[in-house]
Symmetry: C2
Subunit: 272 residues, 2 copies
């Protein structure tokens, strides 16, 4: 099942998949789901958007790093027009900033914004989980149980990446069960913005422990259709996750944005 998942990721990026890690391919798929939501067929624009977006999420491109359209056009062997559009898609999701007449760059996530995002997510996700607990079908339950099992496996194996992506999938399934596409789109977008930090926060064993326990509790609240409990659990978990991030930021655990003189573009006149 994960296999098919990874196979299908290839068509949404431009570079050969062999060089990519599994985590990166997961990232591509998540980005695709959110940023290329309406693009049913992989187009040039969506490929670029997915790949660059995944690179940002996977911290291949760092906070504040320049995303010059000419540089990207060279790299993807296309003109600047589709690159520009791809960057606009990523800006819409908050991964990229495009100041007028200035070079686009990877958006910088300061703690103030993270705080805001987690506050909004806590409230919205609480409501969504509440609805999901009420509306969930047997199919929803089955899917969620399976994802919980995947989560548990990853947790036992201490596999950070696997845990992270299973986590994302669990929340994804949960938001689907609530049958509110608008809420889902907003939550997805907010998730995307903070995915860069998830690895940091989940790298703490105590955090992973709490997170795992939380998911078990949440699952049972949903099974028992205890909407208020699901709401409170989600909010509490978000508060805790935020506290961890606050700590990490305070300790300087988040690499500060590059004072990006852009890296010299070594004009590789190789292709001739």
């Amino acid at each position: 099942m994960t296999t098919t998942t990874f196979e299908r990721a290839d068509s949404w990026i431009a570079t050969p998949p062999s060089s990519q890690s599994e985590s990166f391919l997961s990232a591509v798929l998540v980005v695709r789901r959110i940023v290329a939501e309406h693009h049913d067929r992989p187009s040039l624009v969506s490929r670029v958007a997915c790949e660059v977006g995944a690179e940002i999420i996977e911290n291949v491109r760092h906070s504040g790093e320049d995303l010059s359209s000419v540089e990207l056009a060279e790299r993807y062997e296309t003109s600047r027009t589709p690159i520009r559009e791809a960057l606009l898609l990523l800006e819409k999701e908050g991964l990229v900033r495009i100041p007028q007449r200035r070079r686009p760059h990877v958006a910088v996530l300061d703690i103030a914004e993270v705080r805001e995002i987690y506050r909004v997510r806590a409230v919205l996700f609480g409501a969504v989980a509440s609805d999901a607990a009420t509306l969930r079908t047997p199919e929803d339950l089955a899917a969620l149980r399976e994802l919980l099992a995947r989560l548990s496996t990853a947790h036992d194996a201490q596999d950070l990446s696997a845990y992270l992506w299973a986590n994302v999938e669990f929340y994804n399934r949960l938001t689907i069960a609530a049958h509110n596409a608008t809420a889902k789109r907003i939550l997805d977008s907010l998730l995307l913005r903070t995915l860069r930090l998830r690895r940091l926060s989940l790298s703490q064993p105590t955090r992973r422990e709490k997170s795992m326990a939380h998911h078990v509790q949440l699952m049972s609240a949903i099974e028992e259709q205890d909407a208020p409990l699901a709401d409170v659990l989600i909010r509490s978990n978000h508060l805790h996750a935020l506290a961890v991030l606050e700590q990490i930021y305070a300790d300087g655990g988040v690499p500060s944005p590059m004072r990006s003189r852009r890296r010299r573009r070594q004009a590789a006149a190789a292709t001739e």
Copy 2:
């Protein structure tokens, strides 16, 4: 004060302001605030986006109507590239749909989506109002009181447009007081999507009555820093507003999307 407001709206649209109503100029400013948030200087793209966005909100362009990029490029005497970008900005706010390889068109708002939007808004706005009630400064209070007075004046004068825009400004000021830019952006975007319908719902005198009373109550909750009350009031008001819209949709009060054969483009070779 409103005078300066209207004067400044001119620079964000492309056509002469003399032909525009006051309501339309208010619409332009609201669109600008949301869609051209980061564009500090009026650029070609933002002008087009603001004007077309305002036309959608003001129902000058109807649900489902085609927005061909060549047609718009002709009208604004520019090339398709900036038009395309302007349409992308409007799509990001949900006012426009751009299917791949098909003509962009004004987004269609069905009742299911309206329901979703109001649910999300109720929850998020409740939380924001709650924060605003807690955090509000004396300046916030003064500004809100003044807007409440404007609301009351418009209400007494039975001036639908004035009431509508004062309403928008009141909520805008309220979301500012909560000091959560992320939440504000989301709420603004959701508001924009439903602004087209506001006139419908507020055209009912009973609805206006309820709305006015609601604002008075809300204002006092904020003055007294009664966060839970502010939360509940907002939610309740949104539920009521939604109920009115459900009724209007059920009665067929919302013009159904044009089966838009696009209007024949009478090639006006006038400019020679």
